[in-house]
Amino acid sequence: MKRKIRILIAKPGLDGHDRGAKYIARALKDAGYEVIYTGIRQSPEAIAQSAIQEDVDFVGLSLLSGAHNELFPEVVQRLRRQGADNIIVFGGGVIPEEDIPQLEKQGVEAIFTPGTPIKDVIQFITTNEIRLTH
């Protein structure tokens, strides 16, 4: 039997705006995925740790405070350093268009900005799950 895709939705940094993160978590759950939500104010280190412990396939990062340029790549780095470079990282929040290419270059594979329909996120997961090794 095929294992269900596992997704960690995480809130790095100090911002408490979790409406979007919680919506995505619940909508993905309703779409049939296994979803784990970290809660707010998680360090990149703690997020990488949870991702590995929970053996997830995707990590979705949500941030609205403007600290994404520092914190998103830091999560990718920590995953890679611990050999979990098969985990696919994406992000969302209030993120200026001009920051996106740099984030993608640093391993955040997709950025979903405000107003994105959930089907676009699901589309991203479906397109990328074939890359998963198991």
């Binding site: 919506y23 970290t38 405070s65 403007g66 600290a67 340029n69 209030v94 405000p114 107003g115």
Partner: protein
């Protein structure tokens, strides 16, 4: 209640003879019409009664119980609401410049936005602060930053609102200390600290300590200010963030007033008498697009709070029963798509706040779904308030929509549903319990989920997002904060630590720690002493962390 039988008969006749024919031919756009928060809207409201008793009991007169029609007898005929734009970013220098600009543009009060490390009691050089310094507000690490923030702004001539919660006592201490340096006594200071910790646990996220010690800090501030800073609003009990988290209008009022009840109880338990502190309580609400529901919401909130204070807490002073409130237009209603449309949304929301009788108002800038507002965008937002004040005419008669059948019917409906929630929360053992067991979070999240699903399905139209969209929107100018700011602030902290009298600071921090151990001691004077000696925000909060511990979020999905 006298039945308006003749009107009802006539209405029946109208439905049978006139309405039916039209409906048979042209059905309405929807089967059911609701407000933005799913309260059912009547096709046509009619007066429920014409009883004089009913009017006197439910509406009364402005400046008089139950304050449905407003808290002041003359409202905006006397003076306009305070136009107060929430602002702050980067360093104290940059923010000081923005405040002076806003004051020069006719703004009448200041509202300080702090960055997240400041709001959570971390110094800029703390590792928790990486990436966040100066981002959503100004970075304040010590009295030295606060001195720069208010440089050239006489604190006896402006009122200042500070969005600060867990470390509210520390920032208030910094403010008092700056005023002292300007030669202004405490009793001349006017302003507000948000100081509303309960909503942080379930809607906003900048908590530090667990509920009990947090409530103690809050009541310490109530007691201190009642004696020393009498013109200060010691708390701004906030529904704004509850609504932003996705609640309905009813939930916004219900959970805010439930928080208010908890604070009043805590203060009474700490030995204060209700009329000693209740007049210094203030509130903060959101204004969304659904104009009629929002206006009714503000009116209902005033009426319910007046009843709570009079009936439940036996307040005697009318000031204790007045729900005075600040409003901010709804951040979550702004769209990143076609951002100029947001100017129109903000205008509707401004009208809602003004027709609802607000005491002060922040209008959002059109570009806030994209990032921090540019100076241009802030100016339009402020102008929106000025146009409503000076040109729209809605300010010239008090509570002008009273007596509108639909407004009164919505006001009653909201009041009824809010009482249902308040009773339910009481049954659960009060607000702290209701938060700890996740009830409040679940209620809000269900509403937020339902809303978003309606947007996804297109059932709820958001112009420019799921209808009337355009391809390839032009890029917008966005205000950016220098990422090197953390380094600048860290160097400043190092400098201050070198210059101050280290032994004095250590001694004061030690005394603060001891005072924290004794529940009967008011911590405010100790924090003020430490602030004056240039102890940093992080140092003061770390002493309290050690004594009080830290709150752990209860995650509800």
């Amino acid at each position: 209640m006298p039945e308006n039988k003749r009107i009802k008969d006539k209405m029946q006749e109208w439905q049978d003879k006139i309405l039916k024919k039209v409906l048979d031919k042209n059905p309405e756009r929807k089967d059911k019409f609701t407000t933005g928060s799913w309260l059912e809207m009547d096709r046509l409201s009619i007066p429920e009664s014409f009883s004089e008793e009913d009017y006197i009991e439910k509406l009364g007169f402005p400046g008089d119980y139950p304050f449905t029609r407003g808290v002041q007898p003359t409202m905006y005929r006397g003076r306009f609401w305070t136009m107060r734009q929430y602002a702050g970013f980067g360093t104290a220098e940059e923010s000081n410049k923005r405040y002076k600009y806003l004051l020069s543009q006719g703004q009448t009060g200041l509202s300080v936005a702090f960055d997240l490390p400041t709001q959570i009691g971390y110094d800029s050089d703390d590792s928790h602060s990486i990436g966040e310094v100066g981002k959503v507000g100004v970075a304040i690490d010590s009295l030295a930053d606060m001195e720069v923030l208010f440089e050239g702004i006489p604190l006896d001539q402006v009122s200042t609102s500070m969005t600060i919660n867990a470390p509210a006592s520390v920032l208030l201490a910094f403010y008092i200390a700056v005023a002292e340096k300007q030669g202004i006594p405490k009793n001349k200071l006017r302003g507000t600290i948000q100081n509303d910790i309960l909503k942080e646990y379930f809607a906003r996220g900048t908590y530090i300590f667990p509920p009990q010690p947090s409530l103690r800090l809050i009541t310490n501030i109530f007691a201190y200010c009642a004696a020393e800073v009498p013109n200060w609003n010691t708390i701004s009990i906030s529904g704004y963030h509850i609504r932003e988290a996705g609640s309905t209008a009813v939930q916004e009022v219900a959970f805010t007033l439930a928080d208010g009840i908890e604070y009043v109880k805590a203060a009474i338990a700490a030995g204060l008498s209700v009329d000693q502190f209740a007049g210094q309580l203030s509130f903060f609400f959101n204004a969304h697009n659904d104009l009629l529901e929002e206006i009714a919401k503000f009116r209902a909130a005033r009426r319910i709070w007046a009843k709570i204070m009079k009936d439940q807490f036996a307040a005697k002073n009318p000031k204790s029963m007045m729900l005075r409130f600040h409003t901010q237009t709804g951040g979550s209603t702004l769209t990143a798509q076609q951002p100029d449309n947001n100017i129109v949304r903000v205008t509707i929301q401004t009208l809602a706040a003004v027709l609802g009788g607000t005491q002060s108002l922040h209008t959002n800038s059109r570009d806030e779904a994209l990032g921090l507002p540019t100076e241009d965008a802030v100016q339009i937002a402020l102008r929106t308030q000025q146009i409503v004040a000076h040109e729209s005419g809605v300010v010239n008669s008090i509570d002008p929509l009273a007596g509108s059948y639909v407004i009164e019917s919505l006001t009653d409906k909201i009041e009824e549903e809010v009482w249902n929630y308040l009773h339910k929360i009481e049954q659960l053992g009060g607000m702290v319990r209701a938060i700890e067991n996740g009830y409040i979070q679940k209620e809000i999240q269900d509403a937020a989920y339902k809303y978003q699903q309606e947007v996804e399905s297109g059932e709820r139209v958001v112009v420019g997002v799921n209808r009337f969209t355009v391809k390839d929107e032009p890029p917008r100018e966005i205000l950016k904060v220098d990422p090197a700011l953390r380094k600048v602030q860290s160097e400043k902290i190092a400098r201050i630590k070198k210059q101050r009298d280290q032994a004095v600071v250590q001694d004061l921090l030690k005394k603060l720690g001891q005072a924290a151990k004794d529940e009967k001691t008011n911590l405010m004077p100790h924090i003020l002493e430490a602030a004056r000696a240039y102890a940093t925000l992080g140092e003061i909060c770390n002493v309290l962390r050690e004594q009080f511990g830290e709150y752990q979020e209860s995650i509800v999905l």
